[in-house]
Amino acid sequence: MIYEGKQKIWSDYQKEIPDDHWYYVRSCIRQNFFPASERMFTEITQKVLGKDVYETPYHTTCGGIAYHCDTIPQETVMTIVARQFALMTEAGYENYCPSCITSFGNYAETLETWREFPELEAKIRENLWKACKREFNKPKYLAHSSDLIYHWREEIRKRAKHLLINQETGEPLRIVEHIGCHYSKMFPHKGVGGAEYPYVLAGMVESWGGQVIDYPERRHCCGYGFRQYHAKANRGYSLSNTHKKFESMEPYKPDAIITNCPGCPYFLDRWQYVIAEQTGKTYGENGYGIPVFTYEEIAGLVLGYDPWDLGLQLHQVAVEPLLKKMGVEYDPKAKYLGLNKEDLMRPEMPNSIKCC
């Protein structure tokens, strides 16, 4: 691997990211999967970095899931998207930041389509007006929330309590970065680092002291794929995709996986349990799995937040091995205590994959 070659490509795929004033929209599903992640984004951007990041409760789904499940036509999706832009315009923002990768892809696709077919944009404006009497300006800048964390990665590094370094050996932790398919595969120039060698997460990992693993199936989908998971009959296909990735990354002995998509951490995390139950195989050390994180969770750990405040107890694969390596202090007894310190009860432990 020639690192300079990658640097050259990264330099070709840089996007302009304004430093402040972002209109932030949440994902449909992330709050259920990893509830603290989006909360941590606002916490870091607003509290730690002091940025203007605005949210509105009127925001709805972008229509991406339905679109990718082939249940609604593109015009409908675009009208939903137009409404989100209208809300942004009404709030007085022009930098749009979705938390969901599929939304990001959806917005990028919509904007590109309008650029290519202005008559379609006109039609959507008309649709939106007919539907809810709203008007909108197109966002000036579109960035995924991971783009923003990437943008502010050095500022986070400056405030870091823990680094992605193995405290026992002093070696950088080996991190697999997994990018959501809809981030840059459709429009390589819309993603930091392009589609082949995306840099958005790799940049964070490098900045925070870790070492990025480049393994053969790095481009491969996590296995979610919408239809492939939503129909139970197809779930074997979804599972096999994920399995392929783990088989490919296994020899590199990764310490953790970092992701920037709602579905990816979920599937990479939960399928490890299913694979272990079905084949008896685990990919981490000593019978554990490879812990999977969102970039906000990693940022939170780096900034010294309590793992249980980051919602890491909701992961299927135990995160404790990584916490130990990073030197993050945590109270094992507090793992299953709720926000009000009430005992949530310890879940049933799986048979084949070690958990705490």
Binding site: K232, A233, N234, R235, G236, L239, S240
Partner: protein, 105 residues
């Protein structure tokens, strides 16, 4: 083992590093012309049996290089020799089939 109602599906990928080439290697020693196939498909198009069993020497020859099970096709061959007649590369297709019929365990 928990029944989830779904399992890992078998990969359809041809992994050339994992395919057993020994049968093909033996074959090309016995029938050197087998290497010359350019996948034109004349053999399958003319094959007497193709209309009944989808037989094609091309598929057989290519299949064994890609780890496919070609036994059913081999079983259906009547050795009539039309494929030998039409092959533009002069591959001895009948000898190829006969030898393959011997190379399976």
């Amino acid at each position: 083992m928990i029944d989830f109602g779904f399992t890992l599906s078998k990969s359809s990928t041809v992994d050339l590093n994992k395919i057993d080439h020994s049968r093909y290697d033996q074959l090309v020693k016995l029938v050197p012309t087998a290497r010359m196939c350019m996948n034109c498909g004349s053999c399958g198009a003319t094959c007497t049996v193709s209309e009944y069993k989808g037989m094609s020497v091309r598929k057989v020859l290519y299949g064994i290089q890609r780890g496919e099970d070609v036994k059913a096709m081999l079983s259906s061959c009547m050795l009539c020799g039309k494929c030998t007649m039409v092959c533009p590369r002069g591959i001895n297709t009948r000898n190829l089939i006969l030898n393959l019929c011997k190379l399976y365990d």
